[in-house]
Amino acid sequence: MYRRSTRQRVVLVALLAATATVITLDFRKNPGGPIRRAQDIAVSVVAPLQDGIGKVFRPIGDFLSSLSQIGSLRDENQRLKAELSGLEADRRRFPEVLRENQRLLDLIGQKDWVQGKTVGARVIGTGPSNQEWTIFLDKGAADGISEDMSVVSAEGLVGRVTLAGSYSKVRLLVDPRHSVGARLTGSGETGVITGSSEDDLVFEHIDPATEISDGETVVTSGYDKGVFPPGIPIGRVTKTQKSRDGLTKTAFVRPFVDFSRLDTVLILLDSGLRVSGR
């Protein structure tokens, strides 16, 4: 009995020492260090298996998750029908608006926000935590992807690459540790948009005198050391409130991208420079 409990204690102490070593090594943040190499290996092993399992189970998962969403889907269907009838009227004006938009874009030398070199990638899995919003992509450094590149979908900004090896990892816009320089399209006012644990993103540090209308579009400002090129759509303002001291205003922004249904994304390989200015 004595021998057994001594062995258990030795195992515990050895593992605690190993954990302390891992934490210490990780805090050095050495890009070529052992922890970083171990992370690359872990992602290289897990990602292809995720890809395989995902292909088999995704249809089943989609079916089961859609069952739990029947109620909300019915409401959404009603809302979309109402929206569609309004959009029909807008559609008739669309060619005219498009021509005007193109004229204005030509005038200021600004093109569409997805330009420059890009690479498409498939989402093969998510991160293993409920407190961290990340996804894994089936493309990596060999495809020209490197850390801090912007990731977009057809709807708008998705996030930023945080790891690029054989596969890559993306921190989503909704992660609370993710901040992006943003701009209101109406007033041109800039601020910082941050993910939150709720559905809406938080757009802070706005001038309190700024008039913000509900539904106003928010895009990237390009003021974050060039990580996110300017003009990428982020979302729509749902509500605003003044800070307690009245010095700033905060807007809550509903992202355009549905992060629970991401399937294919685009990585902007020229992130860091004005996409259209190249």
Partner: protein, 168 residues
Amino acid sequence: MRRSLVFLLAMLTAALLQTTVFSQLTLFGVAPDLILVSVICLAMLEGPSTGAVAGFWGGLLRDLLLDSPKGLTGLSYLVVGYAVGTVRPYLQTTSVLVPVAGIFAGSLVGSALFEVLQALLGQQQLPFDHQLRVVGLTAIYNTLLTPFVYPLVKRISGAYKREKVYRW
């Protein structure tokens, strides 16, 4: 050696299912922590040493897939694995409620310990009520998976049981 490989493979499978299938099957937006469930099951069946080793490797695997500081999940899960394995022999009952209660309590302690460690290192940026909700829901979801995971781990553990050596 073969046993250790099988347990490591079980952790890898848990991580894969957690990040693919169960990321689609969330309960109020929360996915279960299959790695932690497997660690607790192994600790209950195999004792504190195996529980701690499984917790360390399972936690480290989870850490390597996260952006947060590495080693925090490893530390949290090894503590839970060791504690569950130590307490289990004192519960002199074969009731099915033992694994259920063990997984619930272990999940609560494991998730909460990870959150505390993150907060101590200044890495926690989510509101306290959100953390509380996630920890509670994860524990409930993990407990609901007991009837599926525990018998499976028990079978694996039984198939690769360590042979007893008697010394004179």
